[in-house]
Symmetry: C2
Subunit: 371 residues, 2 copies
Amino acid sequence: MREIAATWMRGGTSKCWVFRRDDLAVPDLSVDEVLLRLYGSPDARQVDGLGGGTSTTSKAVILAASQAAGVDVEYTFAQVGIEEAKVDWGSNCGNCSAVVAPFAIREGWVAPVDGETVVRVLNTNTGQLIVQKVATPGGVLSEEPTERLPGVPFLGAPVRMGFVDPAGRSTGRLLPSGRPSDVLSAAVGAVRVSLVDAGAPVVAVAAADLGVRGDESPAELDATPGLLGRLDAVRREAGVLMGLAETPEEVERAVPKLALVSTPHPADLDEPPADLTVRMLSMGRFHPAVPVTGSVALTLAGGLPGTVVHELVDDADAATGLRLGTPAGCVETFVESHDGVPVVGITRTYRRLAHGSVVLPDPPLLPSVSA
Amino acid sequence: MREIAATWMRGGTSKCWVFRRDDLAVPDLSVDEVLLRLYGSPDARQVDGLGGGTSTTSKAVILAASQAAGVDVEYTFAQVGIEEAKVDWGSNCGNCSAVVAPFAIREGWVAPVDGETVVRVLNTNTGQLIVQKVATPGGVLSEEPTERLPGVPFLGAPVRMGFVDPAGRSTGRLLPSGRPSDVLSAAVGAVRVSLVDAGAPVVAVAAADLGVRGDESPAELDATPGLLGRLDAVRREAGVLMGLAETPEEVERAVPKLALVSTPHPADLDEPPADLTVRMLSMGRFHPAVPVTGSVALTLAGGLPGTVVHELVDDADAATGLRLGTPAGCVETFVESHDGVPVVGITRTYRRLAHGSVVLPDPPLLPSVSA
């Protein structure tokens, strides 16, 4: 048995356990093995571990101070499998990203200055630099809950996050197919899609082209007969077109993500109104709000003529950011240019829930029985 | 903001945060307010707190060393509301009970002896004394995972628990109506029930009388048209007959519990075979395994001629305990007599998951928006 220092934090609409990278180095065990046992996986309920039995509560954030130029913290995200004994390292989680700056300041990795402190975070999964700003009045980190975030009923402390030059991190190109839109094969219904790689690889589809309004609840969409299956086929064919895999079968569950987009319905306008209504698929189901990385891709797509997103939004809005209408409420993104480099961003809130240590039992690390 | 010492433990098939009673005393706040904010309630996902968004993961165990004769530890159980800003103090959780002895020994409240240490636990919700035994070889608590428990895929450290003289703790009588079985009103279908108060108040019904086999999965039973509604009506009318409330509307959601009982199906016999197949309703849905307190009531009912349980089991089995066939596998209870006092028990496993402190934000304690 071994105790490992850890902090449990909410980042945006996710909950994640946060570890120092060195602390996860356990003799004779891989990090995957350590995480799976800590989280109680594989098990649908994760009853014997830290995991919460849902994709948004089975996440780990692994951090280390960085010596690299222009980087303060190296941040690795792990999606810990629930029913599968597998850790997915292939993508970042934008929501969990929000915990990095406050954790780094509390650890003493970044010295806070009076007012606002900037923390430069390198996500190692994607090579994405994320510049984070948190309030540090008097040179002390403020954890005071002052902001609302759609999907979180309590106020939280804000982290402003800018994704620096996010285009093409996974595929090398903002438009991996080289075109603003593509029509997929007849086998998946010849649906028109825009393939965009920024923050994460995303497939955008007009909701109307799939026979839904686009402002349904995640539960309604999940329950629409045939929809999840068809969207997964669309997503897999699109993944191959984006160069993420050789065959549809090899396309991962986590990426590309898929967004159903539509014009905000006059009857359910947010105040002020959203620019675009979004329902996004994440790990095989509709997301309760919106994945942050997906919102970055949609924001850049909004500024690109010929994409299915651009056709639905106002040019002037898309140039400075978008208000995305999500199942949980309106989420606002921003677009800035710093020395000619585009920065796309969003504000999330966070909260420290618990800290201390977690307990790793001795091997065997796999279940004794299937329960 | 305030940090509160806490330990996260699995007890049986539940996960609970464990607190010292004194640590939950916060100036100007009730314990209910403290727990609700810590757990992130009300919120279906409990995303801003310790709760896991399900009844088996939104539980608190509150402990104090006891000065009372014959008692080592006073144990209070709290079922923390999820979507409702309400803490239920009306019943015990048998699964969570398993964490008490190991926690008390680690705290130094009970001095372990070489071999096996006995911890006498008084549950304050019900007045129930629970005698617990844990392995303490060489006078040191063993947390070594050695036993299987249905519903938990990993091995755990065992706690043997005996409920001392459990009859009538809530109503004053083992058979609160004075009869081994009752026929309810025509309004709920004139169904025959046995009302038993031991461990917790339980309503036992033969599955066949409700038109189901009784060995279906919890999900199948939850989805059976009309079943949950009808069982809740049965449960509420039975609750009034047991004297737990004046009217069906006032009957609590947590108690009485309801058990569908049936003869084990020859085709799905466990090895060795179960004595009784059980599917139990808990907090409005079918339980993934079996509530421990409910298993105590069914065990005593098995020994009482005229109950719907007795009719289904073998007399000799019921005298010493029952093997209950649950959705997660077979759970074994025991019946003993100590100086003429009946003790009904069961073995559960536990694991420490995490420990340190949890963070209580400053007021306001209620959500800023409904999300």
